[in-house]
């Protein structure tokens, strides 16, 4: 098991991260037009001073090594757009907001998705099954940027019971709509996965044995069926986590929530290279770490994975 964990971290996660950093770094440095090319007609000495401040006058290899050493210390460098801030300061302010939103949505998606999936599997081919799967289909196809304005229209404009946007420190009424939009897709996918694997598990011999022993259904579910049925859901948690983060781009932009997603989009629209670079690496690192954690967790639950 230890060997599996070490291999997963040192041979897979860390090299992948390094490749990501290198690719994004050189993409940005080799792109046409520097980050300050929009500030036209500056005297050459001013330009030189600006470039010196951001170390853009040094050879590429030195810049790269500097960036790597800074990164190893957790320093993402100064923001090119908000000149008085470092990327770290801006990110640190945004992270708690995105995490609060993301974790609430994630938990709701997990609980609702699994319950709906189990219900559909237990009542296969009844109206419960059909309606769960129908709603799940809509949930997968309907994009966030359609659902968000629709919900805002209904609940904020017509009924006026919820605010159409804003964050205000994450008060509950400001979180309802964003969370609803954010978790919709994951509820649908988790419900589908749970239903599929639950049906498979319920048809397997050990469940038949448990039934033959005369155990009550809720006991069989809790004691025997749930754990094996959850395996595919666990392996979906990695992509789901990433999805919650990226999905929050639309949600945060629409509802005006000051999180990571909005920071990233503003960085992209303002051509704030260091911000976009820093956030891409940060999210990539989160993604790679989370996938590794899920893999290790999976290896823990299902021993067959370890011996590959």
């Amino acid at each position: 098991m230890l060997k599996f964990i070490l291999r997963r971290i040192f041979l897979e996660a860390i090299p992948t991260l390094l490749v990501l950093v290198t690719v994004t770094f050189f993409l940005i440095r080799l792109a046409p037009g520097g980050p300050f090319s929009s500030e036209m007609n500056v005297p050459p000495e001013v330009k030189a001073a600006i470039e010196a401040k951001y170390q853009l006058d040094q050879p590429m290899s030195v810049q790269y090594l500097n960036y790597l050493t800074d990164l190893a210390r957790g320093d993402l460098g100064p923001s090119f757009k908000y000149k008085d801030f470092t990327v770290n300061e801006l990110v640190n302010k945004a992270i708690p907001v995105s995490f609060k939103l993301g974790i609430v949505a994630f938990l709701i998606a997990l609980v609702v998705g699994v319950s709906a999936g189990v219900a559909a599997a237990l009542r296969q081919n009844t109206w419960i099954d059909y309606s769960v799967m129908g709603v799940a289909m809509i949930g997968v196809v309907l994009p966030n940027f359609v659902l968000a304005p629709m919900l805002a229209l209904i609940f904020a404009v017509w009924f006026k019971i919820l605010p159409a946007g804003g964050w205000e420190g994450g008060q509950i009424q400001f979180m309802v709509l964003p969370v609803a939009v954010l978790c919709k897709h994951y509820i649908s996918v988790i419900a589908r996965i749970t239903r599929g694997s639950m049906i498979e598990v319920l048809g397997s011999p050990f469940i038949r044995t448990a039934r033959a022993k005369g155990l009550p259904m809720h006991y069989i579910l809790r004691r025997h069926a749930l754990k094996p049925a959850m395996l595919p859901v666990v392996s979906y948690l990695g992509p789901a986590f990433v999805g919650v983060i990226t999905g929050s781009v639309v949600v945060e932009t629409f509802f005006g929530i000051p999180g990571i997603g909005q920071l990233f989009i503003n960085g992209a629209l303002n051509r704030d290279y260091s911000m976009v670079l820093g956030l891409t690496i940060l999210i990539g690192a989160l993604m790679i770490t989370f996938n590794a954690v899920v893999d290790i967790l999976y290896g823990y639950i299902d021993p067959r994975i370890r011996i590959k």
């Binding site: 359609v146 891409t280 993604m287």
Partner: protein, 307 residues
């Protein structure tokens, strides 16, 4: 798909049987079988018809309306749908006709979807087939590279690309297609690997059929079905991706538009002009549903796993 469906091998006439009987024992090819199954799927058929209507509307576009897509009318901003002014879908914040803009946006969204999927299919099929056929060390290196790419935050990389190289329409679908081929490559590789070891391939070998002919007659038609299925499912995700970028202001640029860009505008003027949201959203969601139903229908019809 047309060329694909036309590959229908018919058996050579058997000597000693009369012509009537020979005609009645015509072989049922993979494709004839698939077509029969697809035609029985009502959801997929209805979707196909609706999609055909949407596509032809988008292609006809401005020919159906007296208004131009980029002609502002400051006397008629945010106007509700009205048949007397021939603004069937109303007007947007600059008084431009929404009907024409929705159709134009659809044309761009569908084009990005189709071309993005095409890029992904070509790269993915070539990559997957090469890895599967060559096998060995090259295969494992290629797959390792794929895994590294798959663990990248792809969407963020695309946005990074858009930031760096400007918001060119061509760049959008090259970028989207270039990052979406990963699943395709995996599917094609897996299929190629398993087909290589199938009995009918071995049988063909024993019968003395050449390798190229085995690939053309036995491997390609089998992979093609799967590729068609996933290509159909790729199109809506490409459309979604483009709409997403345009919604965030990183996609197509004014005065051109796409469904995503229209939705962005529509969600801004939600309180004064609902139609600016409803019509593009309706078109987008309908198209996405149609593609999904058609993709599911094709999968049921073509996926060899279900037989």
């Amino acid at each position: 798909m047309n060329t694909a469906f036309s590959i229908q091998p018919s058996l050579p006439p058997l000597p000693g049987l009369d012509d009537d009987l020979n005609a009645s024992i015509r072989g049922r090819s993979l494709w004839a079988d698939a077509r029969r199954r697809f035609l029985r799927n009502h959801a997929a058929l209805v979707s196909l018809v609706i999609l055909a209507v949407i596509v032809s509307l988008c292609l006809l576009g401005s020919a159906l309306s007296p208004h131009a897509y980029d002609e502002p009318d400051f006397g008629a901003m945010h106007q509700a749908p009205d048949s007397t002014t021939r603004h069937w879908f109303g007007t947007d914040n600059l008084g431009r006709d929404l009907f024409v803009r929705t159709l134009l946006g659809g044309r761009i969204s569908l084009m990005v979807g189709a071309l993005g999927a095409l890029v992904a299919v070509i790269i993915g099929t070539l990559y997957g087939a090469t890895a599967g056929f060559v096998g060995g060390k090259i295969d494992s290196v290629m797959m390792r590279f794929l895994e590294i790419l798959a663990s990248f935050p792809i969407m963020f990389l695309v946005i990074l690309l858009m930031t760096l190289f400007g918001r060119d329409l061509w760049l959008i679908f090259v970028a989207i297609g270039a990052v979406s081929w990963l699943d395709m490559a995996r599917i094609v590789r897996g299929q190629t690997l398993s087909l290589k070891r199938k009995e009918f391939v071995e049988a063909a070998h024993v019968a003395g059929v050449s390798t190229t002919r085995i690939i053309i007659r036995h491997i390609v038609p089998n992979v093609l079905g799967l590729v068609a299925v996933y290509a159909t499912l790729l199109v809506p995700s490409m459309i979604l991706f483009e709409s997403f970028l345009s919604y965030l202001g990183l996609g197509v640029q004014e005065p051109a538009t796409s469904w995503g860009a229209l939705l962005e505008q529509g969600s801004k003027s939600l309180e004064v002009a609902v139609w600016e949201l409803i019509f593009p959203a309706g078109f987008l969601v309908t198209t996405l549903f149609c593609f999904n139903f058609i993709g599911d229908g094709l999968r049921d019809a073509l996926d060899p796993k279900d037989r």
